[in-house]
């Protein structure tokens, strides 16, 4: 018996909980500690963070945009949005996954070791994925790849048998299509 889970307010009494992946865009005042407030909220209340990116987007106004990919039941996702809105220096929280059309992109740098056939196979695949070679030695490449998280996952998996050394990923940045802002 899963006693604790059955009593949790976040699990539906009927059937399995319906876990969804959502991308939240959070506009914040770029002041000290604001990222700690956001991250602390997630750890303190037991929410998941799949990826998190943050950078200043308007220097004059000291605004930063945090993009968080999280998972949970629809009830939990709604709670996360509302809990984020309670943080004082947060201007706006938008659940991009509730919008019809969203573009998500991530940048990755992928280091691959290989010689001979492996080396040329890596290069061929990188062309298919439109990855850029940003560093090369006799026995290695570093590829730069931009795309959806899934595309990057696919490329990384292809590189693994060839000689994957390491991966550095930025996490997801996301924006809605069309003329309207968040």
């Amino acid at each position: 018996m899963n006693a604790i889970a059955a009593l949790s307010p976040y699990s539906s009494a009927l059937g399995k909980p319906n876990i969804e992946r959502h991308t939240l865009s959070v506009l914040v005042d770029n002041e000290p500690g604001v990222l700690a407030r956001v991250v602390g909220l997630f750890s303190g209340r037991g929410y998941n963070i799949e990826s998190l990116t943050v950078a200043e987007v308007a220097h004059g106004e000291h605004l930063s945009r945090i993009t968080i990919v999280t998972t949970g039941t629809p009830e939990v996702i709604e709670q996360i949005s509302h809990q984020l809105e309670r943080i004082v220096p947060i201007h706006k929280v938008t659940d991009l996954s509730m919008q019809a059309r969203v573009i998500e992109r991530e940048l990755a740098m992928i280091k691959v070791h290989g010689t001979g056939e492996h080396r040329s196979e890596a290069l061929r695949l990188s062309e298919a994925f439109r990855a850029k070679v940003i560093d090369a030695t006799i026995e290695s490449f570093i590829f730069e790849l931009t795309g959806s998280p899934g595309k990057i996952d696919d490329f990384v998996e292809l590189m693994r048998p060839i000689g994957l050394v390491e991966v550095s990923r930025t996490g997801v940045a996301a924006i809605t299509r069309g003329a309207k802002g968040m």
């Binding site: 006693a3 604790i4 059955a6 009593l7 307010p9 009494a13 005042d29 000290p32 500690g33 700690a36 407030r37 602390g40 303190g44 009830e75 709604e78 709670q79 509302h82 809990q83 809105e85 309670r86 943080i87 004082v88 220096p89 947060i90 201007h91």
Partner: protein
Amino acid sequence: MSKQMTGAEMIVEALKDQGVDTIFGYPGGAVLPIYDALFQQDSVQHVLVRHEQGAAHAAEGYARSTGKVGVLLVTSGPGATNAITGLTDALLDSIPLVCLTGQVPTHLIGSDAFQECDTVGITRHCTKHNYLVRSIEDLPRILHEAFYVARSGRPGPVVVDLPKDVQFALGMYQGPLNIQHKTYQPKLKGDADRIREAVAMMAKAKRPVIYSGGGVVNSGPEASKLLRELVALTGFPITSTLMGLGAYPASGENWLGMLGMHGTYEANHTMHDCDLMIAIGSRFDDRITGRLDAFSPGSKKIHIDIDPSSINKTVKVDLGIVGDCAHVLEDMINVWRTEGHKVDDEALAGWWKQIDHWRARKSLAYRASKTTIKPQYAVQRLYELTKDRDTYITTEVGQHQMWAAQHYHFEEPNRWMTSGGLGTMGYGLPAAIGTQMAHPKSLVIDIAGEASILMNMQEMSTAVQYGLPVKIFILNNEYMGMVRQWQELLHGGRYSQSYSNALPDFVKLAEAYGGHGVRCSDPADLDRAILEMINYPGPVIFDCIVDKQENCFPMIPSGKAHNEMILAELSDDAGVAIGSIIDEKGKMLV
């Protein structure tokens, strides 16, 4: 009106501009400049506590009994960390506080300097917001913002961490005018369409109940007035959480008593069987709901709350209205009147008949005794002998707190100061001190347990220093009673560490502090002893020796639903029988 002054002077100036007349605090190295500025003025009175936790609870008592922001001033490091329990308490009960903490000078921050701690880091999770003031230019704005954030929307504690060099620095002070917050602007008015929908649902209801909470008290006296008006207009039954007591008068004919774990039989059954629940400024806390998947299964639920995150947090509701209780209640009443709604009189009469049937169970009854003082009897006598006076009640946490909530009846809001969300033992005495500071002529009583009171006993010294005639009414059963009760119900009566060994002689203790002590163990002598306490013109410790075995009933056992309450008669002979009521799942809950 900008004026050049030091940071320390700005702090005192900002307190005056924010209408603060009393602060609670304790000096130390990192706040000396502020204490120096306080020394040189008379507008803001400083109350010296004996421990910073006491300062925080005193500020809470002050805030709850006045509706104003409570202020405390503590030094860096241990000063700040000692205040944390009080800050957390204020966060859970939505009490507006501004906590000024000293900090080591900015150039030493991060160097593990003497009495340094990462105050903003530590308090980030137990405050509504906090600030580290890095430069004198930011200080006036941050001070005024702190008060704004503390009292606006859902109130809460705000920490302003003040490095010592900023306190010494010279800068231009700005008053609170023209300070508009960039991001934090809570919504006060509820959505008009939703309010209309709520009123329509109310008009159709056959078995309605209003379930109000601390949000009504926090919203201000107007909200309580409007709540009473709505009840009078509809004739709906009303129950309230621990935090909401007094918003609707206990003498009101629609009053069901408190609900929840130790609420009345009629309140909990009404909640369980209702077809429409109107939650106003309450948050479906686990003490209220009992087992969630059996919580009021057949009802539509309307939830009015100023905090959007409260809505659908634990209980899914059919209609959420985000807004301030007073604003929303006013609009609801207007819509009810202008649209000429009528309740379903016939259905309501049947509903009241059912409720009266539950009431007839007399769930707060207990077996009276001529030889020992029953704790319920002690609270009842205290109520009877103080109800016609201007009285404020605070409590500690435990059985005595629940008996106070059950047997002391509140007619007005802001008269009842108790630690609800956090359940902080040691809250009551400092809260009574803060309340008495705000209401010097009133009767302020801390209904206490002998274990809780010892957690902040040192504040008796504060009461004596300031001539505060607070009355500490200890229901002394020589046990951490609620712990003992749970051990009886859940752990086979193995009273692990719950006996209060080596208790002090409370009468002598009162005298040692410079107060007055009264002891009573005879029910026949109780009234006389209570009157002696009330009439003594200074602080009193009343050691009321009560029945050691008494348990607090009725009770919704952990993991059970509202209609599975246990009543005192069932529990008469045996913990064993009750112990078997709570299943393994329930035992895991607190």
